[in-house]
């Protein structure tokens, strides 16, 4: 597909509390461009399609190879990574919007703090720090390692949170990714030692019970993480934990 120009329509916002507006840009086509390359071109020559000089469009990106998660934005209606969105495979005009489930900082830059708070709440880590050498941990079965590795690919981009209908201003749902991370760290032989804490967190405010099985998360996850499988597996584990901990009282 060879074109002279790429037509990009961007939903912009100057400040966190400012009104959003759309602005159109026409960018000279080069082969093999991705959306980040388009944004870089606008940065180099920040002039909109009516020829007016404007402030360059702000966005976030780091790795440019779909492993950091920073450049997630809504591209032609779907939340995805801008780095792996190739112009040749996109319908034009290319419409870029910030993921508005999150607070928009400026243009396409969003504030993902809520995701990191959610990871803190569910204790998405393996605690190994101590005052002395704890030695080697228990080994993990290769069979489990293989699927757990898939869950570890989550880079907190927020696509699942953006697509989930139950993440909205009326709920406090922490989002699909956090539930999958509980499954990951509860599978880890050392992480498992704190599994009850994570179950309790999933039973807490905005926890696993807020999931309504729309299954949008698994559709949009750029890493193909089986989020809905994680949610169902955690439903089973959390319900069992709830019942057994109540019977032990």
């Amino acid at each position: 597909m060879s074109q002279k120009e790429i037509h990009v329509i961007i939903e912009r916002q100057d400040r966190q509390d400012a009104q959003p507006y759309t602005e159109e840009f026409r960018i000279p086509y080069r082969p093999n461009m991705n959306v980040i390359a388009c944004l870089m071109e606008i940065q180099r020559n920040p002039r909109n399609s009516s020829g007016k000089d404007v402030a360059p469009v702000a966005w976030e990106s780091n790795c440019l190879e779909e492993i950091c998660g920073a450049c997630m934005m809504v591209i032609n209606g779907k939340p995805r990574q801008a780095c792996s969105a190739l112009v040749d495979q996109l319908e034009q005009p290319i419409r870029l919007k910030p993921a508005r489930t999150f607070p928009v900082v400026r243009d396409l830059v969003i504030d993902r703090s809520r995701m990191f708070k959610a990871l803190q709440r569910v204790k998405a880590w393996v605690p190994i720090d101590g005052t002395y050498d704890l030695g080697a941990g228990p080994r993990m079965a290769e069979r489990d390692r293989q699927w757990a590795y898939e869950l570890s690919k989550c880079f907190t981009c927020g696509a699942c949170v953006e697509a989930c209908p139950n993440v909205n201003e009326r709920t406090k749902f922490i989002g699909p990714f956090a539930i999958s991370q509980v499954r990951l760290f509860n599978t880890h032989p050392t992480g498992e030692m704190h599994k009850e804490d994570r179950f309790e967190a999933l039973m807490g405010e905005g926890g696993i019970h807020e999931c309504g099985n729309s299954q949008n998360c698994v559709q949009v996850c750029p890493k193909g993480i089986p989020l809905t499988t994680s949610i169902a597996a955690m439903n089973r584990a959390v319900n069992r934990h709830a019942l057994s901990s109540w019977l032990k009282r």
Binding site: P165, A232, M234
Partner: protein, 203 residues
Amino acid sequence: MANQQVNRDFLFRRLHSLLGVVPITLFLFIHLTMNAFATKGADAFNAKAQTLESMPFLPVIEWVFIFLPLLYHGIYGMYVAYTSGYNGSKYSWGRNVMFTLQRVSGVVTFIFILYHLWTAKVLPDGPSFDMVQQILSNPLQYAFMIIGTVCAVFHLANGLWGFLIHWGVTVGPRAQRVSAYVLMLLFVVLSGVGVSALVAFHG
């Protein structure tokens, strides 16, 4: 303590899920099967209705196993429908459409059940073939009864699909796909049973 407040949300939601199956799904199975006796004629239906009406401790059974669970499931369901977001127009994947339909059919069923209780339980004096026939003689009421029955059965079948996930029975994508097919078959069959009774009443 804050933690107890939040655990309550979890319990309320799981209770909502559980009551939808035990006893409400079981009740609807019995209810629609009993109605289907109308296809065998007025006498067959009236005999079955008599048997049910003459059950011992009927008010207790009705309140504990039908009205109270329905009331809880219905009112909490309205809250769930209110707090859910709807983005089916943006993301039209099958499951997301079903997510919306589940909530829409729930609201329709809730209104339908209130109407149905009022016209068939509160106003008349005991169920009989003639009583139902009289209600259905009004074309609007006949249409609403069919819509309400189909919505209720859809909500039941698709709700069971969600129940199997909420209780961690169907975990993987294949299991969830197969259960969806089986439950949609149930939707078709049970709708058929329910509507066939209405057609028989209507005559």
